[in-house]
């Protein structure tokens, strides 16, 4: 008999359908289907003999990879490296497509093709705030005694989430990253201290020197399921945050919840290239803002730099902005061209909940962190850890895969994907 075999810890579900939270227990086979799967879902639920319900969220924040087993099974994991450990070549591994919902065997629900989000006349700040509050309130009800952390850089995105987390989780702790390269305290750390103080949040400091941070590289490449420098650098920051939380939190039986301010940069096209030692890094496609936004959001299918990296320390990441994706995608194109678009929108979404200085602060990227010496980017460049090094190391960690395979595994921000089917299951999945 064929079946589904899961290797390692899956990302699980903290999914949102606009009204209610869908956890793993809600995504059992032959039960009702959620109308949409926003938030996080990377799950495979079902009894040992099947059937199984396979679910992956709309943006692809939860990852699910699969390879065909030798006896017609589907072997599933949240990381490709887990399937490589089972003897599969990287070339044989596919991602479950994002926005996937299906029972194996049995197929998926009848679903209409998703329509293009209508553009709003003005940014829908109230809808964004309502979605964020509803999602956080539902999580607070579902996990009343879970330890809660919120990553805080002192920028607008993380400070906004921190302010709402304060309202819904009174015992939350903020955690702030800093790379110690022997200089002064980073602007991020100073800003995080100030925001935490004003919000009344205790602050946990995650500080690493260069050697300590680079010691996380293999974990980030494996748990991040990606080798591209921007994502690896962000993953290193997250690894330091995760390791610090795990050290502070001595409750191995439950996974603390870690809230982050990710995704607002994709939704508002708030990225730019960085220059270090005269070389440009993190180059972006030369596209109009609306097209670039589409590309960045599509690209969320790839890289497990948040959920996967924190998962490596048995922590559950929550990215609340995900549940407001339709509201963000309805933002008119002209608004995306405004240099102060994020400040304007955050003022409407968070208002006076945020300290005034946060609105005035120049943007600092987590990887560079406003630190002297180029932050994590500078550290990696100085140590010769460039794109080629990362590709080679990723291949080595994935069974010695040929480097040419990488271009087929991730292309244009998408993992090579296919719907998993059990041998003999001819039903078309949803």
């Amino acid at each position: 008999m064929t079946g589904v075999r899961v290797h390692g810890r899956l990302d699980g579900a903290l999914a949102w359908d606009g009204e209610r939270l869908w956890r793993d227990a809600d995504l059992q086979p032959r039960r009702e289907w959620p109308a949409t799967l926003d938030g996080l879902a990377g799950s495979a639920e079902g009894p040992p003999g099947g059937p199984w319900r396979i679910a992956r969220d709309r943006l692809g924040l939860g990852k699910l990879f699969w390879a065909p087993g030798s006896s017609g099974d589907v072997e599933l994991a949240s990381l490709p490296v887990r399937l490589v450990e089972q003897g599969h070549a990287l070339a044989d591994i596919r991602a479950v497509p994002r926005d996937f919902l299906s029972d194996l065997p049995g197929g998926g629900p009848a679903r209409s093709p998703r329509e293009e989000v209508e553009r709003a006349a003005e940014p829908p700040a109230a809808a964004i705030r309502a979605a964020l509050d509803a999602y956080l309130a539902a999580i607070a009800r579902a996990y009343p005694s879970r330890a809660v952390y919120v990553c805080l850089s002192g920028g607008l995105d993380s400070s906004g989430i921190a302010s709402l987390v304060c309202d819904h989780f009174p015992a939350a702790v903020a955690v702030s990253f800093e790379l110690d390269r022997g200089g002064r305290q980073s602007d991020d750390r100073l800003a995080a201290e100030r925001v935490a103080s004003e919000l009344g949040l205790p602050l946990l400091e995650a500080t690493a020197d260069g050697d300590e941070l680079l010691g996380y590289l293999d974990a980030v490449l494996a748990n991040g399921a990606d080798w591209r420098d921007f994502n690896v650098h962000a993953g290193l920051v997250n690894a330091c945050l995760a390791a610090t939380i795990r050290t502070a939190e001595q409750t191995p039986d439950t996974a603390p919840l870690v809230f982050t301010g990710d995704l607002a940069n994709e939704f508002l096209v708030d990225y730019h290239a960085e220059t270090y030692a005269g070389v440009t890094h993190y180059r972006l496609p030369r596209l109009a803002p609306a097209a670039l936004r589409s590309g960045l959001v599509e690209g969320l299918d790839t890289s497990h730099r948040e959920v996967g990296v924190f998962g490596g320390w048995a922590l559950s990441v929550v990215q609340p902005y995900a549940v407001a994706v339709d509201a963000y995608m309805s933002i008119p194109e002209q608004f995306l061209e405004l240099p102060d678009r994020k400040e304007r929108l955050c003022r409407e979404v968070f208002g006076e909940r945020l300290p005034g200085f946060v609105y005035e602060r120049p943007k600092a990227r987590a990887q560079t962190g406003g630190a002297e010496g180029g932050g994590v980017l500078g550290l990696c460049v100085d140590e010769g850890i460039d794109g080629q090094w990362l590709r080679r190391r990723f291949c080595k960690l994935h069974g010695g895969a040929p480097e040419a395979e990488l271009g087929r595994f991730i292309r244009a921000g998408r993992y090579r994907s296919a719907a998993p089917l059990l041998e003999g299951d001819a039903d078309e999945p949803g």
Partner: protein, 86 residues
Amino acid sequence: MNQGEVAGSLETFLRESFAISPTDPNFGREVDLFDGGYVDSVGLAETLAFVEEEFGVSMPDDELLSDDFATIDGMARAVVRLLGGS
């Protein structure tokens, strides 16, 4: 629009956008653009935007992630298929 015309248009775009020398002996319509280092992930995003604007087609994942989509001729075949040409 036939495959040759699409391929020609793509080749012109790629040569101009990514500063590929007209005398580069290794470049051609059957060359793997990624293995050859002519197009990286950022360049591919720009190429997809060009395809969408120029030919009015949005590339589905199965075409995008196929081995065939690594060359100019392969991309042209995909565009023609989506245009209903074959």
